[in-house]
Symmetry: C2
Subunit: 247 residues, 2 copies
DNA sequence: CGGCTGCTTGAACTTGTTCAACAGCGGTGG
DNA sequence: CCACCGCTGTTGAACAAGTTCAAGCAGCCG
């Protein structure tokens, strides 16, 4: 299975062959490439499609007038951006590629057709949207309450688990192609302090991060240190009751 | 119009008489009272209904094991909690009343019936859900990038504008029944520093806050100081194209 | 009256920021 | 081929913002 969206949704529900086919169809809609650090869409734009990340990392962000920037969310392969964007007139934030990104632009019509024909997919996309909202809430907790060390540990745990869901980890390793500046903007820390915090995690023998490759040496310890409780990711196959009964 | 939800949604779309009637029906579902600082629902619960706040203030919050608490969202009259909660098995956060709260518990069945019969309401509820998500993102920006002064100013602006949408302001005044401790937990500040920050806003002649009554003495100045840009609230009647054509 | 909650103040302290400089690396153009 | 540039990561030191601890006051309610 090389379709990251299908892989992710199968954590929620069992997908039939026709569900799979429908998701594959989504992945083949108008496929585009974007270079690293280029915008996919900007605040004020009015999009006419939904983006599905196929490969690479992207982010949502907002900037304040004086240049301060907050990364609001990190988008990984299999992430679908703003299902019902069609209702709001304009984007209130921007999205940018962190690495080179391939994404499919799915039109409203295609999306509606798929959700109409495949109710299990509709259900699963709902689950995905609700998890996305839960992640956003957890980030608020991090930004508001966690210390620098906890915050950085937490985001590493979260990204690792999310990457594992779409098959992008290898044992306790994963590609981790984000710069320290971007990680700092995501955690609300200065780049200098983020650097020192990473060093602290390395010194504690919790992680290795070098050459865009992350190894989590002791995930349980990192989770404890970061007060990371994965239940907000709702990974416990909650939708199995809607499982496919076709082959 | 004493229905805060209808009042809020009418900022997005024109509501027909039957839309109004349907929203009034929602407000009459199983009406409950909750005392101040009591939970409406707890992390781990599995709700079987959606809450519609009719009067009073509430909040969503999460606590960390060691007692640190982050208020994730503030719920005002007219706010509807988690439309599609039915999909996720358990709550990943709690909700509590800040003041005494009256709310209607709307069952899945009633909600589905209304949205099926009144497509304009469905559309408007979508708009509301997307605005809620946008608010959550803006809070991330505040927590991650804004200084204490900006953060406090920003939340005051936001709450004032949201209260105005549901008719709970009077000129530049509004009831503001939240304690400093709760405001501190919402802004990620200590209660002591929140107190000093409020004093700074008072000293700058921007606000008066006394006896649970907030007066914004200079909204434009407060907006500038807080880098408050209301476009994330999507208030510009974006859904007028779906306006009712019945009386 | 006593005890509670919410607000306020002072002072010491801690965490994270800012500023500045430098090293390593890869790409580009002379 | 080498010089140079820009980007990323790293380090040190001074600094600022916000926290913590501790105490006190006002109003309210039983």
């Amino acid at each position: 299975m090389d379709n990251p969206l299908a892989r992710k949704l199968s954590h929620f529900t069992r997908l039939s062959a026709s569900d799979q086919a429908a998701l594959d169809l989504l992945s083949r809609q108008r496929v585009r490439q974007v270079n690293a650090r280029h915008d996919l869409i900007r605040e004020g734009d009015r999009p006419d499609h939904v983006n599905l990340i196929l490969s690479g990392w992207a982010c949502r962000y907002k900037t304040l007038e004086d240049g301060r920037r907050q990364i609001i969310a990190i988008l990984l392969p299999g992430d679908l951006c703003d299902l019902n964007i069609f209702i709001l007139r304009t984007m209130d934030h921007s999205m940018a590629a962190i690495t080179p990104v391939t994404h499919a632009e799915v039109s409203r019509e295609v999306l509606e057709e798929v959700t109409l024909k495949q109710p299990r997919i509709t259900q699963a996309l709902w689950w995905d949207a609700l998890v996305t909202a839960a992640i956003q809430r957890e980030w608020s907790v991090s930004l508001g309450q966690r210390t620098a060390l906890e915050r950085v540990g937490h985001i590493l745990c979260e990204l690792f688990v999310r990457l594992r869901m779409v098959g992008l980890t290898n044992g306790n390793c994963c590609e981790f192609p984000i710069t320290q500046v971007d990680l700092a903007d995501a955690t609300g820390l200065s780049a200098v302090h983020l650097n020192r915090t990473l060093q602290e995690l390395r010194a504690g023998e919790l992680i290795v991060l070098r050459d865009r490759l992350l190894t989590i040496r002791d995930l349980p310890a990192l989770q404890v240190l970061s007060l990371f409780n994965p239940n907000y990711l709702h990974l416990d196959a909650e939708g199995q009751q809607y499982g496919a009964n076709e082959p």
